[in-house]
Symmetry: C2
Subunit: 413 residues, 2 copies
Amino acid sequence: MADPLPVSPLAPAAFPALAPIEGAQFAAVAAGVRYAGRPDVMLALLAPGATVAGVFTRSATRSAPVLDCQDKLARGFGAAEHGPAAILVNAGNANAFTGRAGEGAVEAICAAVAQAADVPANRVFTASTGVIGERLPHDRITDALGQLVGSLAPDGLANAAEAIRTTDTFPKGATATVETDAGPIHISGIAKGSGMIAPDMATMLAYVFTDAAIPQELLADLLSEMVDTTFNAVTVDSDTSTSDSLMLAATGKGVSLSAEHLPAFREALHGVLLDLAQQLVRDGEGASKFVQVTVRGAADTADAKRAAMAIANSPLVKTAIAGEDPNWGRIVMAIGKSGAQADRDALSISFGDILVAEQGWVAESYTEDAGAEYMTQQDLEITVDLGIGAASFTAWTCDLTHAYISINADYRS
Amino acid sequence: MADPLPVSPLAPAAFPALAPIEGAQFAAVAAGVRYAGRPDVMLALLAPGATVAGVFTRSATRSAPVLDCQDKLARGFGAAEHGPAAILVNAGNANAFTGRAGEGAVEAICAAVAQAADVPANRVFTASTGVIGERLPHDRITDALGQLVGSLAPDGLANAAEAIRTTDTFPKGATATVETDAGPIHISGIAKGSGMIAPDMATMLAYVFTDAAIPQELLADLLSEMVDTTFNAVTVDSDTSTSDSLMLAATGKGVSLSAEHLPAFREALHGVLLDLAQQLVRDGEGASKFVQVTVRGAADTADAKRAAMAIANSPLVKTAIAGEDPNWGRIVMAIGKSGAQADRDALSISFGDILVAEQGWVAESYTEDAGAEYMTQQDLEITVDLGIGAASFTAWTCDLTHAYISINADYRS
């Protein structure tokens, strides 16, 4: 193992105080899957009646645990009537591209969790993150189950956030409370990932819990509705892992979500998901700048997203930002290559409040000094108005620095 | 300007001796468009009867000269009956995103070249490469036209290759001679490009000339047929420029291309185009490794290209190669995210002759030592067999190194 990486300069000041979720308990343990002397397996136990939804990587080479989760959810085992549920996650080994043995490991873990925690095996969801292509030593996980189940606690979610880290330089959590006439609804979630990056040592996992009672179908709809503008709106390096998993569970022990609660709940859930997603970018490998890219005035949302992601993923835009160079020509380039409908003379580009380009050329009021001064900030906002339609999309990314190369090239796995 | 970059370690040993092209003359001059004390404008003059074809960037923010060339070719001015033709290229300023002033500059240059070289204005093709968004000082170019026209010479193509360089660390040329029963056919070409190199062409200009007589329509067909497997098969950083131009001109002063010559000519032309395209990768910004990525066994060619380009563009694959890390898990990741039809248990991966993975896991015969030893080479071959169909595609890329970051972030433009 390489030396531990320094904490990202973009990390939040502190890990948040996560609201406890009635009907959910969490534990973490050091099972030695790959790392020594640190927690690397987490277990979440959800009371009978919990509903569970998930969205996963679309990779054609997705991992064995992802395939297993997708299969179980497709068969309807996310619904409340099937009893309690469990989520087990290990760090250090992705159990991806491990052939039939990988599927066997998932089966063995699910069976052991089912027995140890008294949960139906088809309600046990797992994820593995870490090195690709190495056999998962699943007995190290199953051997630790007794200790895991024995230490389950309502306030264990912060420990779980620690246990799922791989190359993350800080643990990631977010929380919200929605006040309703029927009482408060709590939402707490954790995530890991230094971007969509390394299937090698990092992938994106996120688990969000609420004590509200939410029917299975609505839970799944809420999650898929929100993923586009949160986890699918962040990028570190345009690489997508074999293990990406986002799960949302509702224990049903608190407020029954009614139509009148929905707008406030939706807003709070979106806030938690976006907070976690942005923390992935803030821990992007080698990141020194946090960049919001908004494209508006697009013909449609797909075009807006295409242009925003082309800017957010462009190595030339990201290296310019790393160099604090207000190189707006590279933004023009990225818009041009994106495939989005664009018109040179209609589009405008701004850095923060500074209008940089409009009417097909640099803005008359723009000065390189103002642009260069703006670029020295840690949090940057790039806004493009395509001047064609009314659709918009916002993406978040980080810069591309020497440290990214060091982490991925100089450190040998 | 920053210090000159060191010559790429992947550069060819020497610039080739380009076969002269009867009916074509070339000149270069130091016009001081942006760089001082080096040639930065080239002129090619083609005898009456020459046919001209071109393919250009599909960027929505393409430059004024690209739009002008496309317009002229669409109107049919590539055909022989319109008289002589000229190509003028400047380095240092891209004349892109320069509003209406950019179009005016192109018009002024074309009119001046037409007068100075006695060529119809609608047969004058131009290109500009360099900084985006700055007004092109076109009078510096038109002021130098007398000197340019006065120094036109049949053997001036090598000087032209020097003049079109921007961040290129070496000039790029390629040549071929096809022996036919009617005499030899000569093909000689030059190119520039180093960063912003991506599929769908690159910040890349290439001009290829032949003395054969080739009807306009056939010339255009040959060029568009060949671009997919040459210039559209190389990538440095997945960024696509606003200026990419590839032009092919046939002076008609030599052999009349007949159906029986066509196979040999096609092979030779493809060889010249591929040689130039590969030289772009060999001069990729910061490159220390030249990598051939072949995907075969794909369902169709589009899928093969999708998977090959996903591997060739992946920052994680490219940083692993820079670190000489045989990280085949990242290749699995790239195949998975590409969108190509793939089956974990059917695909195999090889480094050169070394079988790395097959049947959904690492190959039994593979050792990390053998992989690591292979990776120390300068020229690498990655082969993926998807095991699904019979289609294949080969792409060429380079690694992603600290020097790429330095060139694009540390050096201020």
